[in-house]
C-alpha cells in the first residue's frame, strides 16, 4: 500500500527487503514489508512494541528466515540461512536482548566464532586482545579485555555487544536498541562512532525507543505499525510529534507533571544506607544514602551507569544484603526481612533485566502476572489453601487490561510477546500485589513511547491513590517529564535533588557527573 517504500532502486541502496512477510505460528509479525538500507546513511526504525522491527532485523541478519518475500544485496537476490552467511555478506547485528557468554572474558565474547588463529591453528589471544583494546578506546570505555562478562554491569555488557558488532567490519550494521542500557555520555560516544562509520560508507540501521536520540542520529526515518511499514521520511522534515503520531496513530501523552498537591506521610524512609559492591572488590556500590519517599510521590533516581541505583533499589527490595543503615516502610523497620515478607508489607521491585530477573519464560502470560500475589487468590479447602481458578482468572484479566498487555490471551506463552509487552507484564505482576511502595529499575527500557505513556499514566494514577514510587532512569527527558522529584546519584551517593518543574537538563546531567553532553535538547512536546 505504501508504495513510496518500494521506490525504484537507487545507486546507493545496498540492501533491500522485498515484500517480506513473517508468521510466528498464528501471529503475523510482518505483513509484506518493503525496506531499503542506503550506503553511508543511518536508517532509523520507529515503531511500538511488537510492531515488527526486531523481526525484520533478524531476517536481514539471517537469524530468522522470512515466510514470504526475499532480500536483495546490491541488487542481487540473496538467501540468508545463518548469521554466518549474513556476516560473510558484510551484514552484522547488535541484538535487542544481550547475547553474551557470562562465563567468558570480554575478548572471548567478541571473537567467539570468528577466532583469529596463529600458528598450528591456535587462537591468537595477543592479537585479539589488541583489537579489543583498540575497540574499547574507540568506544572510550576502560574495560579490560580479560574481565569476565559476568562481572560487567548490564550497561558495560551492552558496550561489549557493540564492540563485537564493530569487530566484524561490516558494510551494513544493524543496531536493535544498542543504547537501552547506556547513559547519555556513552550514547554520545556511540554516535561519534556511527558518524565516522557512515563517513566510511557503512550503512547503519538503528532502532531505539529513545526518540530524541534516534531522531538526532537519523538520516532516514521509517515507521512501523502492526507489522506494516507505514511511513518513510527524510530526517530533515521529521520531529518528535511526527514520529509519535505515525507510530501510535495519535498524539501520545508525554508529560505527566500534575498540579501541585501535598503528599501523604512518609511511605519509605532510608537512613545512611550502605551496600557492598557485588564484585567483591570491597567497594561500596551504595554509599551512605538517605532518602524519603512520601505516599503519592513519584521520585526519579537519575544517574550514570554504575551510580549504584540498581544496588540501591535491589537492597530496598531485599535482594542485596544491606551493609548498614536502616530502611523503614511506613514507620516500621524492614531490616532482616526476606523479599517475600517485603512484598507482603507492600514494597516490590520491577527489576532492571526482565529476561534474567523479571520473567519465568516457561510460564504463560497469566501465570507470570499472578505469580507474586498467588496467596490472595487462594481459597482454603480441607487442610490447606488452593488457588481459586476464578479469582485468579479475574485478577489476571484486570492485570492485562490495567497495563494494556498486547497478547493473544492469558494462556499465551510469555516468550511470544515483544520486549515492551513483556516489560508491562513484569510491572503488572508487581501492581497486582497492591504495593505501598513500588520500586522500578529502568522501567521503560526498551519500551515504546505509547507504552511509556501508558505506564507512567498508570504510575501517576496509582500515585494519586497513595502509592509511593521510586524509579531508576538513565533518560533525562523522562526524569524531567515524569516525576515529582529527581534524585541524582553518582558513585553510590545522593549528590543532589531537583524539582523537575524548575530544573534544567544541563544542571541535572552536570550533577550526575556527566560531561557536557551534546544531545541538543529537542524539546519534548511539552516544551
Amino acid at each position: 500500500m505504501f508504495r513510496e517504500a518500494a521506490s525504484p532502486p537507487r545507486a546507493d541502496v545496498v540492501l533491500r527487503a522485498v515484500d517480506i512477510t513473517k508468521w510466528y505460528g498464528a501471529t503475523q509479525a510482518l505483513k509484506g514489508v518493503n525496506f531499503e538500507v542506503q550506503r553511508g546513511k543511518v536508517t532509523v526504525l520507529f515503531g511500538e512494541n511488537g510492531a515488527g522491527k526486531s523481526t525484520l532485523m533478524k531476517i536481514l541478519a539471517g537469524v530468522e528466515t522470512p515466510t514470504g518475500g526475499h532480500l536483495e544485496l546490491d541488487g542481487e537476490r540473496i538467501e540468508l540461512r545463518s548469521p554466518n552467511q549474513a556476516v560473510d555478506h558484510g551484514i552484522s547485528i547488535i541484538h535487542q536482548e544481550l547475547n553474551l557468554c557470562p562465563n567468558m572474558s570480554v575478548r572471548d565474547n567478541i571473537f567467539i566464532g570468528r577466532e583469529r588463529t596463529g600458528l598450528f591453528g591456535t587462537v591468537d589471544y595477543r592479537g585479539e586482545r589488541k583489537v579489543v583494546q583498540r575497540l574499547m578506546e574507540r568506544l572510550e570505555e576502560d574495560i579490560d579485555p580479560s574481565t569476565l562478562v559476568a562481572d560487567l554491569r548490564i550497561g558495560q555488557q551492552q558496550i561489549v555487544e557493540i564492540a563485537r558488532a564493530l569487530a566484524t567490519d561490516a558494510r551494513i550494521l544493524i543496531m536493535d536498541e544498542p543504547t537501552s542500557a547506556l547513559s547519555a555520555s556513552e550514547v554520545e560516544v556511540l554516535f561519534k562512532v556511527i558518524k565516522d562509520l557512515t563517513d566510511n560508507g557503512v550503512a547503519i540501521v538503528y532502532i531505539s525507543h529513545h526518540l530524541e536520540e534516534a531522531i538526532e542520529i537519523s538520516d532516514h526515518a521509517v515507521v512501523f505499525r502492526d507489522g506494516e511499514l507505514v511511513a518513510t521520511e527524510d530526517a530533515a522534515n521529521i520531529d518528535l510529534s511526527w514520529v509519535v503520531g505515525k507510530m501510535v496513530g495519535r498524539a501520545a501523552e508525554y508529560d505527566f507533571r500534575d498540579a501541585e498537591r501535598d503528599y501523604g506521610d512518609v511511605a519509605l524512609s532510608i537512613r545512611n544506607l550502605k551496600v557492598v559492591d557485588a564484585t567483591g572488590e570491597g567497594r561500596l556500590a551504595v554509599n551512605d544514602v538517605s532518602l524519603e519517599v512520601r505516599q503519592g510521590e513519584i521520585v526519579c533516581l537519575y544517574g550514570l551507569m554504575g551510580a549504584g541505583r540498581t544496588e540501591l533499589v535491589e537492597a530496598l527490595a531485599g535482594r542485596g544484603p544491606i551493609a548498614s543503615g536502616s530502611v523503614k516502610l511506613g514507620g516500621e523497620d524492614v531490616a532482616g526481612t526476606s523479599i517475600t515478607e517485603r512484598i507482603e508489607r507492600g514494597i516490590g521491585l520491577v527489576p532492571e533485566d526482565r529476561q534474567r530477573d523479571g520473567l519465568v519464560q516457561s510460564m504463560s502470560v497469566g501465570q507470570n502476572l499472578s505469580l507474586s500475589s498467588l496467596l490472595e487468590m487462594t481459597r482454603s479447602f480441607l487442610v490447606s489453601r488452593f488457588i481459586s481458578g476464578r479469582r485468579e482468572a479475574g485478577r489476571i484479566r484486570d492485570g492485562i487490561s490495567d497495563v494494556r498487555v498486547k497478547t493473544a490471551g492469558p494462556g499465551a506463552a510469555i516468550t511470544s510477546l515483544s520486549g515492551g509487552n513483556q516489560q508491562k507484564v513484569v510491572i503488572g505482576k508487581m501492581l497486582l500485589t497492591g504495593p505501598k511502595v513500588l520500586l522500578l529499575d529502568e522501567p521503560t527500557r526498551g519500551i515504546d513511547v505509547g507504552a511509556k505513556g501508558e505506564i507512567f499514566s498508570l504510575l501517576f494514577r496509582e500515585a494519586r491513590k497513595g502509592l509511593a514510587v521510586l524509579y531508576v532512569t538513565s533518560e533525562i527527558g523522562e526524569a524531567i517529564t515524569a516525576s515529582h522529584r529527581i534524585v541524582v546519584m553518582s558513585k553510590g551517593r545522593v549528590v543532589r535533588e531537583f524539582d523537575p518543574r524548575t530544573a534544567s537538563r544541563e544542571e541535572i546531567m552536570a550533577a550526575s557527573g556527566e560531561s557536557e553532553v551534546g544531545i541538543h535538547p529537542i524539546g519534548t512536546p511539552s516544551e
Binding site: 508468521w23 516457561s362 489453601r385
Partner: protein, 368 residues
C-alpha cells in the same frame, strides 16, 4: 505443558484452552503412543500379557517405580535431580526391619518392640530426614543436586549396610504377645483386589496432581524451575520450595522402601539399588524437561507404565536377558526422541495453517 496452565486455562478464553490442550497432548501424546505400542505388540506376542492377573501384577511392579518417579518429578520440575532415592528405599526398609525385629537397649539390656504404626512412621521419618539433608545441602551449602544426592546415595546405602551388617532382617511378622503384628498383613493386603502398592501409587498421584495444579506451592515449584532468579524476586520462597521437594522425594522413597520390604517379607540393605535410573527415565519419558519447569504427574505415570510394561513384557515373551537391556535402552531413547519429531511436525502444521487468514479470535487487539 504444565498441569498449571491447564488449571489456568479453565479460566481463559476457549481458544486458548484448545491451544494449550494440544500442547499437553504433544508432550504426553508420545508417551501414550509408546505405551499403546508396547501393549499392542506384547499382547500379540503373548496371550497372557493382557490377562487380568498379569495386568494387576505388572501394575504392582509399575507402582513402586511410579511412586519414586512422582517424588523425582518434583525434584526435576525444580531443575534438580535426586540420585539417592534408591539408597533411601534401602535405608527406610532396613529401619523398618530393625524396629520390627525389636530394638535392644544395651544400657537397660531390654528389647523394645514398637507398634507397627510407630515402625511405619519412624521409617517414613528417616527417609524424609535423608531427603531433608539433601535439601539443606543443596539450598544452604549450594551443592549441585547431582552431587549432593550422589553423596547421599553412598551415605544412605552405607548406613543401611552398617545397620544390617549385610544380613537382612526377616522376622517381620511380629508377635501377638509383643503387639507388633500386622506390618506384612497390612502392606501386603489387596483391598478390592488391588495390591497395596497400587493404592499407594493412586494416593500419591492424586495428592500431588492436586498440589501441583492447584496449590501455590505447585505454582512456585514450576516458577523456580522456570527461572529461579525471577521467582525469587517475585516473592517466591525459593529455598523453602527447594528444600521441601527433596523432603517429599525422600518421603516417596521411604514409602517404597516399606512396600518393598513387605513385598519381600524381608528387609535387605541392598534393596532399591539403581531404582533412581528407572524413576528418572519414567519422568523424562513422561515429558518432563530435566532443565526444570516442565512436567506433569499424568505424564510421569504414563512413563512409569511404559518402562514397567516393557520390562515385564520382554520377560513374558522370553526375550534373551541381553537383548532385554538393549531394547530397554533403545526404547527410552526413542520414546523421548518421538517428542522432538512431533514438535517439528507440529511446527510444520501450524506454519501451513498460518497462511490461512487468522481467525478473529487470534487477531491481536488494536493498540488503544
Amino acid at each position: 505443558m504444565s498441569e498449571l496452565s491447564q488449571a489456568a486455562v479453565k479460566a481463559t478464553a476457549p481458544h486458548a484452552l484448545r491451544k494449550i490442550n494440544t500442547r499437553a497432548l504433544m508432550v504426553e501424546g508420545r508417551a501414550l503412543l509408546a505405551l499403546l505400542l508396547i501393549v499392542v505388540v506384547f499382547s500379540l506376542l503373548s496371550p497372557n500379557f493382557l490377562s487380568a492377573d498379569n495386568l494387576i501384577i505388572m501394575t504392582r511392579h509399575v507402582a513402586m517405580n511410579a511412586i519414586l518417579a512422582i517424588g523425582m518429578l518434583l525434584v526435576i520440575l525444580n531443575g534438580g535431580i535426586d540420585l539417592s532415592v534408591g539408597s533411601i528405599v534401602g535405608l527406610s526398609g532396613v529401619i523398618a526391619g530393625m524396629l520390627l525385629e525389636g530394638l535392644e537397649i544395651k544400657s537397660l539390656d531390654l528389647f523394645v518392640y514398637p507398634a507397627v504404626w510407630v515402625v511405619i512412621v519412624v521409617s517414613l521419618g528417616v527417609g524424609t530426614l535423608a531427603g531433608w539433608v539433601n535439601g539443606v545441602v543443596v539450598t544452604r551449602l549450594k551443592v549441585a543436586p547431582f552431587i549432593a544426592t550422589l553423596g547421599m546415595l553412598y551415605v544412605a546405602r552405607g548406613i543401611a549396610l552398617l545397620i544390617t551388617n549385610g544380613t537382612p532382617f526377616s522376622k517381620l511378622r511380629g508377635e501377638e504377645g509383643l503387639g507388633n503384628t500386622g506390618f506384612l498383613t497390612f502392606l501386603k493386603g489387596a483391598p478390592l483386589g488391588l495390591p497395596m502398592p497400587v493404592w499407594a501409587m493412586i494416593l500419591f498421584a492424586a495428592v500431588f496432581a492436586v498440589v501441583l495444579s492447584k496449590s501455590p506451592f505447585g505454582r512456585w515449584l514450576y516458577a523456580t524451575g522456570g527461572n529461579e532468579r525471577a521467582a525469587e524476586l517475585s516473592g517466591v520462597p525459593v529455598k523453602k520450595v527447594k528444600t521441601r521437594i527433596y523432603v517429599l522425594s525422600g518421603l516417596c522413597a521411604a514409602a517404597v522402601g516399606l512396600l518393598l520390604t513387605a513385598d519381600l517379607s524381608s528387609a535387605t540393605p541392598a534393596a532399591g539399588e539403581f531404582f533412581e535410573l528407572n524413576a528418572i527415565a519414567a519422568v523424562v519419558i513422561g515429558g518432563a524437561a530435566l532443565s526444570g519447569g516442565r512436567g506433569t504427574i499424568r505424564g510421569t505415570l504414563i512413563g512409569a507404565f511404559v518402562i514397567g510394561f516393557l520390562v515385564d513384557g520382554l520377560v513374558l515373551v522370553g526375550v534373551s536377558q541381553f537383548w532385554q537391556q538393549i531394547i530397554k535402552g533403545a526404547v527410552i531413547i526413542i520414546a523421548v526422541a518421538l517428542d522432538q519429531l512431533q514438535q517439528t511436525l507440529q511446527k510444520r502444521r501450524s506454519a501451513k495453517a498460518a497462511f490461512s487468514p487468522p481467525k478473529p479470535s487470534e487477531r491481536v487487539p488494536a493498540p488503544v
